[in-house]
């Protein structure tokens, strides 16, 4: 220590300290910075962005602008994140066929690889929700369905209906049916709040709760055989009333007509 202390007034000491400090900061940065960011210029990612840019220019830019800045016909995509792209394009909603109260789900026209490229390009506009990984939306605990059900009835059922059959909103808008929706897309919808849906970011609804909701929706819409027989669309008493009138009373009246038509005839002497 004496040696070091003796040279602390050396003319080059400041330079050495500076170099040392730089090395430490750089080293720490290299050690702790997110790997992907550090590899931002790695060829695969930038290639994806380049490819995405080409696809975007062809399929999206007429409404959203060449750089996703938005226009009178489409919103800005800055900050929507890759999750929004994966949801909108992955469910066929984008590219939209025509403007309207709501863009419907339809046939998906891009491959998943192309969707990923588009997502990479849009994500490069600014930070936003990232496409979830499989373990984020795949539940492993059997309790998740019950907990998710409670969360679903609190947060989702008022628009999507108790069984995820969907429902009406104002002016021709609607909450779509959740039947047959990919778990990833359910998760992304909660993250990004597409179209008329509010978003449920991790700050208001933690990841674990989203996972539980996904588990409940999967259970209700596709995995569970209905204990009571035909579910009649799971739409509540309206379809029950129609069924009761048409098939219940209808059958009874048909039988009444049959019984009345088959009677003992008085003997004609």
């Amino acid at each position: 220590m004496k040696k070091l202390s003796a040279r602390r007034r050396h003319p080059l000491a400041a330079l050495v300290v500076l170099l040392f400090a730089l090395a430490v900061t750089g080293g720490l940065y290299a050690a702790f910075a997110p790997a992907e960011k550090a590899q931002a210029d790695s060829s695969a990612q930038s290639l994806a962005i380049d490819e995405g840019k080409r696809l975007f220019a062809v399929g999206c830019s007429s409404c959203h602008g060449l750089n996703g800045q938005g226009s009178s016909t489409g919103p800005s995509l800055v900050g929507v994140g890759s999750a929004a792209v994966d949801f909108q394009v992955g469910t066929g909603r984008m590219p939209a066929q025509q403007p309207g109260a709501q863009i419907p789900r339809k046939k998906v026209i891009y491959s998943q690889a192309e969707i990923d490229q588009l997502a990479a390009f849009v994500a490069s506009f600014g930070p936003g929700p990232v496409v979830p990984t499989k373990d984020q939306y795949t539940s492993t605990s059997p309790d998740d369905v019950a907990k998710g059900g409670e969360l679903f009835r609190t947060n989702c059922a008022q628009c999507h209906n108790f069984a995820g059959s969907g429902g009406a909103l104002t002016q021709g808008k609607y909450a779509p049916s959740l039947d047959g929706v990919d778990p990833k897309h359910i998760y992304e919808a909660m993250q990004t709040g597409p179209q008329n849906m509010p978003s449920f970011p991790d700050s208001t609804m933690p990841e674990a709760q989203k996972k539980q909701i996904v588990a409940f929706v999967r259970h209700t819409t596709s995995e569970e055989p209905n204990p009571g027989g035909l579910a009649l669309g799971s739409l509540g008493p309206v379809t029950e009333g129609l069924f009761g009138w048409i098939f219940g009373l209808g059958a009874l009246i048909a039988v009444a007509i049959w019984v009345a038509a088959h009677t003992t005839k008085a003997k004609k002497s």
Partner: protein
């Protein structure tokens, strides 16, 4: 004691001299007759004649579904716990495991998933209720459109109406009991309606719920009313309804040999005992099959009620749907006065709701006031021959359907890809316009059918046989209707509009004519005036045309 035995054995002879019973069956009947007097009852009623028509069996559907509801309801009470005490679910239905719920809901889950046959019985109970009220509606339509409510059956019409009214409310209370998310929303709706009553609303609400919503009282209270009070009244009304049917004898459609004085048909025993008994099992079978095929009120999917949760498609069962429609389309008007709120958006629908039903109840009395007809009627009208009554009935149905569309506006929107707001505006307009349009269309339709009947009577049936006359003209041969058809088409009587008495009487004194009488004359003209019925062909007209040569 028994008039039957005294008639056969003679009044002076003591009944002990009656011949020894021939066999055990007769002995048993004799034993019962001595104590219950069944001979006279049986003699009077077992051979009671009933006419045959499928529409006369609609009331039977009501009766049988009611019996099914009572039987299944008793089974359900064995396992249901009418309590709002909180429990944590640990049953077989995994998706609700560990969820807090009321005992009412938990016991309904238990009925649905653990009790043997529980879910089937629950579904039979619920489907039968849905069909019961639908059948009552159709039964009432039959009675209405055929004019069977006329004297002497006005009181029985009122009994029927009360059964419908009570049935609706008992149904509402019944599906409120499981305390699932949907039924809790329904009770909340009811609470809102009670609160909207001016002045007393808040007191009524506290009285019903025993505190703030939801409290702990409402389900036990609804349970008592649902399983005891209302069914008790309904059974009483039902018995009275049936006694009156026996007492009045059944109505019949016009036909050869059928008069206001007789009933043409089959005896109760054995024909209708067999038919009606068999029909009961058919009804039970169809309801049971329906309940085995389709879910009704899937409470496990709704989840337990929590006041902070709600699901879309929160509609009542169909018979309460029109009240939902009234609320949904009513603009949310409010009046604020002296620190109080008058919630017209709920209060006006709440007042329209009973009026929609009350017009059904009062109609027979209204019509008898207009016609001034005090005679008994046992021959039914064909709906076309009472065009104004028929048009009023169909207008009411259309009005009711408009309200039902309002009640299901969200499903209409999603399934027909329409805007919810447009449907609301449509229903608001249609509430006033559609019944009026339907009234006129139906009336014209009836008149058209009357013209057709007249045409058929005078010119016969078109045979489809084309004949070429010597000078080249083609004519279609018309065949005369058989006599029974002619009778059917001309049996109805046509009332004439009421004439106001002359302004001055025979002494030249100005007569006082009350406003009500003038109104009555006006309505009577609307019912039976020249634009409201087509004069039916007379025998002379028929004779003149048919006796001559051929075809027009």
């Amino acid at each position: 004691m028994s008039s039957a035995s005294s008639a056969t054995t003679g009044a002076t002879k003591p009944s002990s001299t009656r011949a020894k019973p021939a066999n055990k069956g007769e002995a048993a009947a004799d034993y019962l007759d001595g104590r219950l007097g069944i001979y006279s009852l049986a003699k009077a009623n077992l051979r009671k004649i009933f006419p045959d028509h499928w529409s006369f069996m609609l009331g039977e559907i009501c009766l049988y579904t009611f019996v099914i509801i009572i039987l299944t309801g008793v089974y359900l009470t064995l396992f249901f716990t009418p309590s709002m005490g909180e429990v944590v679910y640990h049953g077989t239905y995994a998706p609700l495991n560990g969820i807090k719920m009321s005992e009412a809901y938990a016991s309904t889950m238990n009925i649905s998933f653990e009790v043997r046959g529980g879910l089937l019985i629950r579904q039979i109970h619920h489907w039968a209720a849905i069909v019961f009220i639908a059948a009552m509606f159709v039964h009432m339509m039959r009675v209405f459109f055929t004019g069977a409510f006329r004297k002497p059956r006005e009181i029985n019409w009122l009994f029927g109406f009360l059964l419908l009214f009570l049935g609706m409310f008992d149904g509402f209370m019944g599906y409120s009991l499981p305390d699932d998310l949907l039924s809790g929303t329904g009770i909340r709706f009811m609470e809102g309606a009670v609160l909207a009553v001016p002045l007393v609303g808040t007191y009524l609400q506290m009285f019903m719920f025993g505190g703030e919503f939801p409290g702990n009282d409402i389900i036990p209270r609804l349970f008592t009313v649902h399983v005891l009070l209302i069914p008790g009244i309904m059974v009483g009304l039902l018995v009275a309804h049936l006694i009156l049917v026996f007492y009045h004898k059944h109505t019949q459609f016009a036909g050869p040999g059928k008069t206001e004085e007789n009933v043409v048909g089959m005896p109760l025993m054995p024909v209708y005992m067999a038919k009606a008994g068999g029909f009961f099992f058919l009804v039970f079978g169809i309801i049971a099959a329906m309940s085995a095929i389709a879910t009704v009120n899937p409470i496990w999917a709704y989840g337990p009620y929590r006041p902070d949760q709600v699901s879309t498609d929160a509609q009542p069962d169909w018979y309460m749907g029109f009240s939902e429609g009234l609320i949904r389309v009513m603009p949310g008007w409010e009046i604020h006065l002296w620190g109080h709120t008058l919630n017209l958006g709920v209060f006006i629908p709440l007042m329209v709701f009973p009026m929609v039903l009350a017009v059904i109840a009062v109609y027979p009395f209204l019509e008898s006031w207009i016609t001034g007809d005090k005679r008994e009627h046992h021959i039914l009208d064909r709906p076309r021959n009472a065009p104004v009554r028929t048009a009023l009935g169909v207008a009411w149905i259309s009005w009711y359907l408009v309200m039902l569309i309002g009640g299901g506006n969200d499903l209409v929107a999603t399934h027909l890809h329409l805007s919810l707001n447009d449907i609301t505006y449509f229903v608001r307009t249609s509430f006033f316009l559609v019944p009026i349009i339907v009234f006129f269309v139906t009336k014209r339709w009836c008149l058209g059918l009357q013209r057709r009947d007249k045409e058929k009577v005078l010119h016969g049936r078109e045979t489809g046989v084309i004949k070429r006359l010597p000078h080249g003209e083609f004519v279609e041969i018309h065949a005369q209707l058989p006599a029974d058809k002619l009778h059917k088409l001309t049996a109805h009587e046509q009332l004439q509009p009421m004439e106001l008495p002359a302004e001055v009487d025979e002494n030249g004194v100005k007569r006082k004519i009350g406003r009500l009488t003038k109104l009555r004359a006006k309505i009577s003209k609307g019912y039976f005036g020249e634009y409201s019925q087509i004069a039916k062909p007379t025998a002379e007209e028929h004779h003149e045309i048919t006796s001559g040569h051929g075809h027009h």
